[in-house]
């Protein structure tokens, strides 16, 4: 049976001060709901370990093969494509698990905003990767610096809608990308080692921090 809903009562607000107070309530409630992070600390640690495994495989298997061969192209894309997909899957599964624990959905409008914010950086990284596989000599190991910068862009975009740690990680990747691309050849740390330090180390430190601060 159709039930008529009660009509809203309208109220007169006389002062701008009262209106400001209500806008403050809105801002605060929205911030609490969005900054109540569902990002998982465990995900950070696992993603870091996956990246370290990728670095190890690149160092031991992929590096020994001539970069112009078809096998190298398959191996390079295979290793780093797997690292990317495994990391993405880990993040989705663990974020969903944590979101469910807090009564939120990972694919809420906010989740969609975050995906949209992260996408351009990832697409740029993918473009660099395809270019690198087609022209390995032109970029050399500096592809890793380009990845760091692309990832930094994604993190800094996501950070605008999320907690400050995400932006912090973004700035760290930006600085690392800058160093990787601009430090002189033969300096004490090369691009491959920087890859392990950043995608491996940074993620693990970030994950441990997030886990301790916001829970696992």
């Amino acid at each position: 049976m159709y039930q008529q809903q009660p009509k809203p009562v309208f109220r007169i607000v006389t002062s701008a001060g009262e209106a400001e107070e209500h806008l403050r309530v809105i801002r605060q409630a929205m911030e609490r709901s969005t900054k109540h992070s569902t990002l998982s600390g465990l995900s950070g640690v696992v993603v870091g370990l996956i990246a370290l495994a990728g670095c190890l495989l690149t160092q031991t298997v992929v590096r020994g093969i001539t970069t112009t061969s078809l096998a190298w192209k398959f191996l390079f894309l295979g290793v780093w494509g797997t690292v990317f997909l495994l990391s993405l899957a880990t993040d989705i599964v663990l974020t969903k698990r944590r979101a469910a624990r807090f009564g939120k959905t990972a694919f809420s409008p906010l989740g969609k905003h975050l995906t949209r914010a992260a996408a351009p950086g990832f697409l740029a990284a993918m473009t660099f990767s395809l270019f690198y596989v087609r022209n390995p000599e032109s970029m050399g190991a500096y592809i890793y610096g380009a990845w760091m910068l692309c990832y930094a862009v994604s993190l800094l975009s996501v950070g605008m809608f999320s907690i400050r740690e995400v932006s912090g990680l973004g700035w760290a990747f930006l600085a690392a990308g800058f160093l990787t691309l601009l430090i002189p050849q033969g300096w004490f740390i090369g691009p491959r080692a920087m890859m392990a330090v950043t995608f491996g180390g940074f993620h693990i430190v970030y994950g441990l921090w997030m886990g301790n601060k916001y829970g696992w």
Partner: protein, 100 residues
């Protein structure tokens, strides 16, 4: 002045602070359960429950009840009417602040 009076008229269903908090929270998160709203807004079970009923009665939110394992879980989502009412409410407040 007719224009000012129109700006000053605010939907009283949303205007109450807890209901305003609930609507703001749901608009930002897209949907949330009772416990999440309780912790985000810092209100008691009874208080929150009363205000959620008012919002539901006015058709501003929908309620979805389910069992997660053996635990019951109630999720709230803003309706199209609720979203629209919230947007109108916020623009009315902003106009009021701008008008000084």
């Amino acid at each position: 002045m007719a224009t000012v009076r129109k700006l000053d008229a605010l939907d009283d269903v949303i205007h109450q602070k807890v209901r305003l908090g609930v609507m703001s929270s749901l608009m930002a998160s897209g949907g949330a359960d009772f416990n999440f709203l309780k912790s985000a807004l810092g209100v008691s079970d009874g208080n929150l429950s009363t205000h959620l009923t008012v919002l539901e009665d006015h058709g501003y939110i929908t309620v979805h009840k389910e069992f997660v394992g053996k635990k019951p879980r109630t999720t709230y989502t803003p309706t199209v009417a609720g979203r629209r009412a919230f947007e109108i409410y916020v623009s009315a407040l902003e106009s009021l602040v701008r008008a000084g």
